[in-house]
């Protein structure tokens, strides 16, 4: 199968929210056809690896198939949270964009459904 490597934002969008020292990040498929790719590739382990430098203690993923969406809850990732963090972005508002830059594999037949400008962010690979 031939696949394209693209950033996650070409198949999904999302938003981060905060409660205390816990962040949640939604990942919402642009098209229902992309939802199975999200479920397969953007799992708890992938998110834990991506945020490892911020020392989260747990990542939980919730699936919402009727919304073609997932919700990640990342514990202790905000350096204390809105009132305690020294980060300029103490809410972690920007963190959805860290996740949305994750690389994912998309079958070439779904390429016409990709969102956003078709620029250098896409590379084609053949996997066996």
């Amino acid at each position: 199968m031939t696949t394209l490597t693209v950033p996650l934002w070409r198949i999904a969008h999302g938003r981060s929210g905060d409660k205390g020292n816990r962040s949640n990040i939604s990942v919402i498929a642009w098209e229902p056809a992309f939802y199975p790719l999200l479920v397969d590739q953007v799992d708890e382990a992938a998110v834990l690896r991506l945020f490892a430098f911020r020392r989260p203690t747990a990542v939980t993923r919730y699936l919402l198939p009727k919304l073609a969406a997932m919700n990640f809850v990342i514990d202790d990732v905000l350096d204390g949270g809105v009132n305690d963090s020294l980060n300029l972005d103490s809410h972690g508002k920007s963190l959805s964009f860290l996740l949305l830059d994750l690389r994912v594999q998309v079958p070439t037949e779904l390429a016409p459904l990709l969102r956003g400008p078709d620029a250098s962010t896409t590379s084609m690979e053949t996997t066996r």
Partner: protein
Amino acid sequence: MEILRIGCAAGFSGDRTDAAIGVVDALVAAGGSSFLIFETLAERTLALAQLARRKDPDGGYEPLLVDMLRPVLARCLRHGIRIVSNFGAANPTGAARRIRALALELGLPPPVIAVIHGDDVSGPGHRAALKAALSSSLEERSIVSANAYIGAEAVSQALAAGAQIVVGGRLADPSLTVGPAMAHFGWRADDWDRLGRATMVGHLLECGAQVSGGYYADPGLKDVAGMARLGYPIAEIADDGTAIITKPAGSGGRVDAHTVKEQLLYEIHDPSAYLTPDVVADIGEAQAEELAADRVRLVGVCGHRRPDALKVNVCFESGWQAEGEISYAGPRADARARLAADTIRERMADAGLLRIDLIGSCSVFGDDDGHLLAATSARASSDVRMRVALRHNDRDDAQRLEREVLALYCCGPAGGGGVRTSLRPTLGTRSCLLPRELVPTRFELLA
């Protein structure tokens, strides 16, 4: 039963003060029963309000209260649009008095204003229960505020008693919508499915333009027209609790299935158990249906029995935060900024944790301990602003950071400019649960 319209004109303390005008225009044009809500409290807002009240016993409510209401109060009262808000913050009675004074200033007959009591649990009566509920040992004298998230019942009762304006403190955000819906449709307080649906409608409304396209915008990928004249959201709620989300005709922004889904999941943890004082809402089977341009129906939500305990946020004095920034640009800007950071680190080695950001290379994605910054190679960034921040219990020790950053002006590295420093007291937050029966709520009509 007639459709109920609820428009939201503020999503936080500090939101656009002209937001209500377009919403009220749309509610008047639509006719029928309608409400205007303002949601203005967040985890730190209430603590700041509590500090303001310490300085001025008549203060401690939303600082922009008058700016938010002045443009629309007369029209709301004339057209029977009732107002519900938590903009009372640390002093709902003070806010209610100020609203009555505003009505007099505007030459209006005095409105019937209800004040919601019960959320403030900072007094001696709750102190023992709070200490038991907080696992960490907080020094009592450092507690600035303790407020329980309270629900819609007292709001609904106040509206049934004829209130035109309902002013609360830490009313839970979605309860600002659930209260009017309960009063309008006559729902029981244990009608979990309807309360669950109205709760999620309230959740969609409570952040203002976050559901109507503003916060969604990402040019080239998620284009939104009219960002400078965003329409704030309006829900058209049916008797079964389902609702259509829309916005004023001709306003900027957009409402589609994607803007609604982003806000539906905002600040949600387990989607099948969104805990509020009124109900445990469940969006596990929810769907967002696009009916027409800027009209999306939320369906599939249900609800479960409300929690027995209420969440309480406790804010306490946590010391001082100092920050300093200085910019470097042109060749080797990143390297000079890193040298500045290393210099500060060495001179303040005894000061505890220093957070370093290189704005333009690595900042908000980074962690307080600097793991990401250390792993980020000195890129060819030609415009970098070094930021250093620290928190300290002692004001003088924190202030030392300001002087050290300022001294970089002459001590170098080369070409550092634009120093800005700040020092401010900080507030920490802990949350805990209190049994519901310890937090009775009630309304009072302003005499």
